[in-house]
Amino acid sequence: MFEPILTQNIHRPDSEKIATYLAHGGYQAARKALTKHSPEDLIEIVKKSGLRGRGGAGFPAGTKWGFLPKDPDIPKIVAVNTDEGEPGTFKDRQIVECDPHQIIEGVIIASYAIGANRAYVYIRGEFFLGVKRWIKAIADAYENGYLGKDILGTGFNLDMSVHRGAGAYICGEETAMLESLEGKPGNPRRKPPYPAQVGLFGLPTLVHNIETLACIPHIVNRGPEWFANIGTEQSKGPKIFSVSGHVNRPGNYELPLGTPLKEIIYEHAGGIRNKRNLKAIIPGGASTPVLTADQIDTPMSFEDLEKSGSQLGTGAIIVMDETTCMVEAARRLTKFFAHESCGRCVPCRIGSQRLYETLDRIENARGRLDDLSKVEELAQGIDGLTFCPMGAALVNPARSTIAKFRADYEYHIQNKRCPSPA
């Protein structure tokens, strides 16, 4: 039985309070990092742990830390991404509502390691409770000497503040988030330059998802070897999987990376509702390609999901049983992307809309025989042709469901109705 690490405190009463956090070993890692380690040591420790980003892209965290300029005269910034919006994902909401100090401790260690004295938290506008928890936790951290001037008597200074987004999925993309923090519309920036060189207000910026930051104190406390022993060859450590859809017990489950989908769905999430059969799984949030029921033995790791033709993404598992119409599932997800396109790049702005209209036509009995080739043609005109990864993401629902559930589409087009009982 795997012992939860990131979610070890969330079931305690008043888990969000600093007293609870301190009573269970909280801020010991920050003390250790600031008093016993040099910044270079910490970057090495994180590199050695094998920690990869939990926000979707899976970039090695220690490598990212190493990208920031070493010159102490250049001010640096840590930007904390709590803009969770990927459909199917609800892990960050739980971490920030139930254990925000764990993230602050990660931010302190990361800031010290890269030489940043300023951290900005960006949180999704709809997370009303999360905003309150962030503000309170930061205030308490200041009061207890973990933020502000001369932290723990080490001479290290760090200021931290919370900034609310206002309802835009795209602001979860790191450069769009920086634009939004600067008070502008959340249009992603062209990369390079990457935020590690030119980030918030033009300063070198380290951007992390909060689940990534939550891993840091545990790595410092228990050592990189301990962390690297959890998981698979290329996917280390624990991961919070959000399971939703047709399962008996939807919820967040913290397990080692590499846990097979089958175990997560049938053992932890209680299996499929009403004893129905499994039809399809989206393994990593709305933007990751769909898997079929016979791929259920796939381990939830970066490398295994890539091999199976999908991605780990945010680790948000959407489970669909045999009654689900895959045309409708793809139509709904594509509608989301069409709604959330920031409008900057033509392929995404116009392409997502045309893609949605085509799927909507098929679903609503107005499909034509050449519509499937039209979808592919549209996808080719979007994928890889936009500033940010949204273009590549938004074609996945349509493309992967046509590749794997073509019969659903053909039935719709030929019979002008849904193959699944409503």
């Binding site: 909401r93 709809e126 609310r164 939703s244 409708e328």
Partner: protein
């Protein structure tokens, strides 16, 4: 009400005045109820920005309101996870019938605005909706009846 950081407090922390814009828009929206042209102008004056710069940001984000809202802003999720467990259209249609307004509309008495929204990050609690800043989970038509009847007599 929503907790928003004090505009004057954030001023000292932000190197760029424009970076205060989202916080300022939230404050203006709380005071005016929505971002009227007058509110936009006042925010612009305060932050030394042009009304165009302010409007460009305000109109990008769905949570900034460029028209007045009802007292209770009902936001129903139409995401995939909500749809899979009986949410989205069936619930939206039920509310439309019950309240006799379409998504995007406000009841004539100014009490309710209905809106269809994207994923609320509450997929484990699906089907979900929000009224103002409160989340309501695992909805059924009966729960919606109770909720709307309760709000109808509330101020």
């Amino acid at each position: 009400m929503v907790e928003t950081q004090n505009i004057y407090k954030t001023k000292n922390l932000n190197p760029a005045r424009r970076a205060m814009l989202l916080a300022a828009l939230y404050i203006a929206q709380e005071q005016y109820g929505w971002l009227s042209p007058d509110a936009i102008q006042r925010v612009a004056d305060r932050l030394d920005l042009t009304p165009g710069q302010v409007f460009s940001t305000a109109s990008f984000y769905t949570m900034f309101r460029l028209a007045p809202l009802g007292t209770f802003h009902i936001q129903v999720c139409e995401g995939l996870s909500c749809y899979l467990v009986g949410g989205a259209e069936p619930l939206i249609d039920y509310i439309v019938k019950k309240m006799n307004i379409k998504p995007g509309e406000t009841t004539p008495d100014g009490k309710f605005t209905l809106e269809v929204v994207q994923c609320l990050a509450a997929c484990d609690l699906a089907p979900a909706l929000k009224v103002n800043d409160e989340l309501y989970e695992r909805l059924t038509p009966e729960k919606i009846d109770q909720l709307i009847d309760f709000l109808a007599v509330k101020d």
